[in-house]
């Protein structure tokens, strides 16, 4: 499948509560190269609002969000 996104780094953030998912993701993104993709899985319901807000102000892009039964996976591309 051509629309399959390949993540360079995966993070398991399940069980972590606000503000930790966003803090951990921002720390991880800093260590990565421009163009790389981070896959972060979280159970924090606030992440659906927080991750896009964080991506917008930090200048990164959320390529795709996959909702699972109890969690969600975000594919974040480092843009700068």
């Amino acid at each position: 499948m051509s629309d399959e996104i390949k993540a360079d780094v995966t993070m398991d953030l399940k069980g972590l509560a606000c503000p930790l998912p966003v803090v951990k993701v921002s720390q991880q993104i800093k260590k990565m190269k421009v163009g790389q993709v981070l896959e972060a899985e979280t159970t924090d319901p606030g992440a659906h609002a927080d991750f896009p807000a964080w991506a917008k102000s930090s200048g990164n892009e959320i390529l795709k969000t996959v909702k699972e039964e109890k969690s969600a996976r975000f594919y974040i591309k480092k843009l700068k």
Partner: protein
């Protein structure tokens, strides 16, 4: 006009047009309540994630939350000893602003937070240190309550300052908060 001073003039004009603000959050932490302190640290650490520089200025009732439970200071006067005894000895001892119910409410909330995997106040302070959140402590509050620097937590880069220092930081901050 020489190019150097012209450049300086243009730069000043540019800064003025930008509103002279940096990507910075300055926060006065006044409350010594567990709930409000938690909110302060959640906002502070979240702001670092959003790419902001963060400055927290601890004053009045928030000051004792930064005491180290294991440290003791010598040579206090009577009032200093009284305040030292009556005010919470560190982040582990602060209470809820509502529903404290003689401590049972606070204990209940702490239990729930652990169950829901929400970071404790002590953990949030360590996280803030790791994220290089700057902490200033009001010198006057320290003096008023008889606290000494040697009984406060070892927070990297902590400074004891006055109101002018906070206002300088707040002056070029995009966001200013009072908690």
């Amino acid at each position: 006009m020489d190019p150097g001073s012209e450049l300086r003039r243009l730069r000043e004009e540019f800064e003025a047009l930008k509103g002279g603000t940096k990507n910075k959050l300055s926060m006065i932490v006044f409350s010594g309540d567990l709930d409000k302190l938690l909110a302060a640290f959640i906002i502070a650490t979240g702001a670092v994630a959003m790419g902001l520089e963060v400055v927290m200025f601890f004053t009045f009732w928030a000051t004792p939350a930064l005491r180290d439970k294991k440290k003791r200071a010598r040579g206090k006067d009577l009032f200093g000893k009284m305040f030292g005894f009556m005010l919470p000895r560190g982040a582990g001892k602060v209470k809820l602003s509502k529903m404290n119910m003689g401590g049972t409410g606070t204990a209940m909330i702490k239990h729930l937070m652990k169950k829901r995997n929400i970071a404790s106040l002590e953990e949030m302070i360590s996280l803030a240190a790791e994220l290089e959140v700057k902490i200033y402590i009001c010198d006057m509050s320290m003096g008023l309550m008889g606290f000494k620097p040697e009984e406060m937590i070892d927070y990297p880069g902590v400074e004891f300052v006055g109101v002018a220092k906070f206002l300088e930081e707040a002056g070029d901050s995009k966001i200013q908060l009072f908690l």
